[in-house]
Every structure is written in structure tokens, then in C-alpha cells.
């Protein structure tokens, strides 16, 4: 499977999805007006990846800002990863947040409570 590598903009995050390495990374700002358009190829990629997924998958989410329309799309990405986890794969979502960013921590905790997949909350120094 070809990896996905997308450079971030003022409104969209850096994306790095690598099937061979079992790495999924979303980093930066996710505030596009049309989030579905941006996230659909990523969700489709994960559908294909589910068939060939590595035994161990590391997911790193380091978001500075995300809007409410992205929040739903990010949940869709996580639901695909949850389906892979249910196939007995070792999947961990590393949710990074800056040390005084309680809103970002709470957002990670919300996803954690909705999904049945291991989350690791990682505080970063500013």
C-alpha cells in the first residue's frame, strides 16, 4: 500500500499514514470549512489498510486546533482504527496535548470514552 503524506497548511494538518511501518500521524491545525473532503481519502485508506494491517500500529495525534466538523471526521478515523484493534492488532492512540491545554486533554478523554481502543494521553511542554 502506498503511504499518504500531506503537508499541512494554515487550515489542515500534516498527514503521514505508512502501512509498512504501521504509523498513523496527524499533526497541526484541522480547521477546514469542509472537513469531509479532507478526511475522506484517509478514511478510505484505513478501510484498505484494515485488510493488511501490521500487528503493531502506532497512532500519533498532535493537534494544535481542530474545529467541530473535524472532530466528527477524526472520530471516523478512530472508528476505523478501532475496527482494526478488534481484529487483535496492537493499536495505541497517543493523544498529545500541550501542558496547559485542558480543552485538548478533555477532547482526547471524550474520544477515549466513546471508543474501545487504548489511548495514551501525552503531555508536551510548551
Amino acid at each position: 500500500m502506498n503511504p499518504i503524506k500531506i503537508e499541512g497548511t494554515r487550515k489542515t494538518p500534516d498527514i503521514y499514514f505508512d502501512a509498512e511501518l504501521g504509523k498513523i500521524e496527524i499533526e497541526g491545525r484541522s480547521i477546514p470549512e469542509n472537513s469531509i473532503e479532507f478526511y475522506k481519502p484517509l478514511v478510505d485508506w484505513l478501510d484498505d489498510y484494515a485488510e493488511v494491517a501490521n500487528d503493531k500500529i502506532e497512532v500519533n495525534i498532535k493537534l494544535e486546533y481542530f474545529n467541530t466538523s473535524s472532530s466528527k471526521c477524526i472520530l471516523d478515523v478512530f472508528k476505523k482504527l478501532e475496527a482494526i484493534y478488534k481484529k487483535n492488532k496492537d493499536v495505541v492512540i497517543n493523544w498529545h496535548y500541550e501542558e496547559d491545554d485542558e480543552d485538548m486533554l478533555e477532547a482526547g478523554e471524550d474520544y477515549q470514552s466513546i471508543l474501545k481502543i487504548p489511548f495514551k494521553m501525552i503531555e508536551m511542554e510548551e
Binding site: 480547521i31 470549512e33 486546533y65 474545529n67 467541530t68 466538523s69 466528527k72 496547559d100 480543552d103 470514552s113
Partner: protein, 180 residues
């Protein structure tokens, strides 16, 4: 005396502010957000407050982008028209105000929506946010009202609103919230 949008906009003149009134497009939303970010850095606001103001501004502006109506033709010819004002009211305290034209039907819906959100406690607002987030019926356009719930959640303040009658069918809707 009938409502004047210029008068409404010019009321917010005294405090340090970021102001915009006119057409709301994808590019204009980006322009306002960049201006807000630049000003907050210029005012040497703490990063935590910058994040909060930026987040709330994103939701408020994208709400306007998706829901603002065509204004009365004597006001402007554009398809979507709105005002955005960010005032610094304290060291790390701000008031965000937006305004846009709506019809009578929208007025009723908005009033109900805001009263419902304002009735909830902080924990109930968070629970409602999660419920809508995890509901597949949620409209991506923001029809689920997630944007306003997110603002209530992040600011932990009640959502303020006012309706100014423009004529019997058209109202000017002002939204305001404190960010501290």
C-alpha cells in the same frame, strides 16, 4: 427608529478590538482568523488565552460562513453578510460578538437552541457535545449545533444573544460571549 447595521457595528469603538463587517467567504474567514491571531500576539496575550479565543473565533466564523443569509439588498449585494467583533475587555478577557441577518423562522429556532444550551450545566454541555459527536445523524454543516455547544463548553459562559427587528420578516441576530 429602524435598526442600522452601521450603528450597531460602530458601537464597538472604544476598546482594543478586531473588527470586520461585510461578505463572509472562505477567504474572508481565513483573513479574519489570521488578523485575530496576529493581534493577540501583538497584545502579548498568554498562549492559553490565545488558543481559547482562536478556537471560539473559528467556530463562530465558520457558523456564520455556513448559516449567514443574504442581507437586505439596500445593505449589501453579497450572498452572505456578517459582522465579527473581538474586544479585549481585560488582561486576558475578551468579548466576541457576531451579527447576521435572519428570518422569523430562524429567530425562533435560534432562540430555542440558545435557551436550551444556556439551561445546561458545564457537565451537561460536555455530555451533550459527546452525544452529538457520536451520533451519525449529525450534519457536517453544523446542523447538529455542535459549534455553539463547543463555544459554550470552551468558554464556560452563557451564550448571549439579541434580536434587532429590521422589518417584520427580517431580524439582525447578535451573538455574544465572554472568553476568559
Amino acid at each position: 427608529m429602524s435598526f442600522s447595521v452601521e450603528k450597531w457595528y460602530n458601537e464597538y469603538m472604544n476598546k482594543p478590538s478586531v473588527k470586520y463587517m461585510g461578505e463572509i467567504s472562505d477567504d474572508k474567514v481565513s483573513y479574519i482568523l489570521d488578523t485575530v491571531e496576529g493581534k493577540l500576539e501583538e497584545w502579548e496575550i498568554k498562549p492559553k488565552a490565545i488558543r481559547k479565543v482562536y478556537n471560539v473565533s473559528v467556530e463562530a466564523l465558520q457558523n456564520l460562513y455556513h448559516h449567514a443569509f443574504k442581507p437586505p439588498k439596500e445593505i449589501d449585494n453579497c450572498s452572505k453578510f456578517a459582522g465579527y467583533i473581538l474586544e479585549q475587555t481585560g488582561e486576558n478577557e475578551f468579548k466576541l460578538i457576531t451579527g447576521n441577518f435572519i428570518d422569523l423562522n430562524q429567530k425562533r429556532k435560534l432562540q430555542n437552541r440558545f435557551d436550551q444550551i444556556n439551561y445546561l450545566s458545564t457537565n451537561e454541555v460536555r455530555a451533550l457535545y459527546k452525544l452529538i459527536l457520536n451520533n451519525s445523524e449529525f450534519s457536517f454543516k453544523g446542523g447538529g449545533g455542535l459549534g455553539m455547544i463547543d463555544i459554550a463548553r470552551k468558554t464556560k459562559h452563557k451564550l448571549g444573544y439579541k434580536f434587532y427587528e429590521y422589518n417584520e420578516n427580517i431580524f439582525f441576530f447578535e451573538f455574544n460571549v465572554v472568553i476568559s
